[in-house]
């Protein structure tokens, strides 16, 4: 019983993270919670395959991600491929004061191809290393790096920010950048 309740507590603690990742993948709160539920059941069944002392969160994320893609395949939906998506259809303009609205950001994130979105979430938000993210996604570290970098560029493009221009009109930040860079 001790094994059960310890594992249960570990799973409970991981739920907020699993839900956040699931929402990022599915873009839908209901689907996300179904996915988390499925992940918990699978994790319980596969408990034996978890190596104590290794990263439980990464193990759970791997299960969740596999489940997500297998559901997508069952539904016969093609996983979006990086080159097939146009980002220009919904360009977002930052508000006058230059601050980027969270809603805008969410919209931009939705426009990313699936593989880029999951990569930038794992690295930039979930706190995984490139190595861990590569393991979770079953691909090479270099692939994760390039997806993250493409995702970031794409987001900047959609949100029309140059990375450092958040404090004012482009002209001003360009001047500052220019003088600092000497």
């Amino acid at each position: 019983m001790a094994v059960s309740s310890a594992f249960k507590n570990d799973l409970l603690a991981a739920i907020p993270n699993l839900r956040a990742f699931a929402v990022s993948l599915t873009q839908n709160a209901d689907k996300a919670d179904d996915l988390v539920q499925e992940t918990l059941v699978k994790a319980w069944d596969k408990h034996e395959s978890f190596q104590m002392g290794t990263n439980l969160k990464a193990w759970l994320f791997t299960i969740l991600r596999n489940e997500f893609y297998s559901q997508m395949r069952k539904r016969g939906r093609e996983v979006q491929d990086s080159d097939g998506v146009m980002t220009e259809r919904l360009a977002v303009h930052p508000s006058q004061h230059g601050l980027l609205d969270l809603e805008d950001f969410r919209g931009a994130l939705e426009q990313l191809p699936q593989d880029q979105r999951e990569a930038i979430i794992l690295i930039g938000a979930s706190g995984f290393s490139y190595e861990e993210a590569a393991e979770i996604c079953g691909c090479a570290v270099g692939t994760i790096k390039s997806r993250v970098s493409r995702a970031r560029n794409r987001l900047q493009e959609i949100l029309k920010i140059s990375g450092e221009s958040e404090y004012g009109p482009d002209a001003i930040s360009a001047q500052v950048t220019g003088s600092n860079a000497a």
């Binding site: 094994v3 594992f7 249960k8 969270l102 930039g124 920010i161 990375g163 450092e164």
Partner: protein
Amino acid sequence: MTRQHAGVEPAASRRQGASDPLGPNSEIGRKLKQYYDELLSDEVPDRFSQLLSQLEQAEPLQKKEG
């Protein structure tokens, strides 16, 4: 060879350091965390703890051998 020097647009984004392009100095990095933190702070529905309690009762885990 020196095509990307100061003042040209790529310099600005590069200078932040390829080491941590999503760090606290990057607006994308900050927004990403803000987006994610909001999701993290979302209250967890009871169905999950109920599910785990059911699993615990129905299928108690065995200690692993070796």
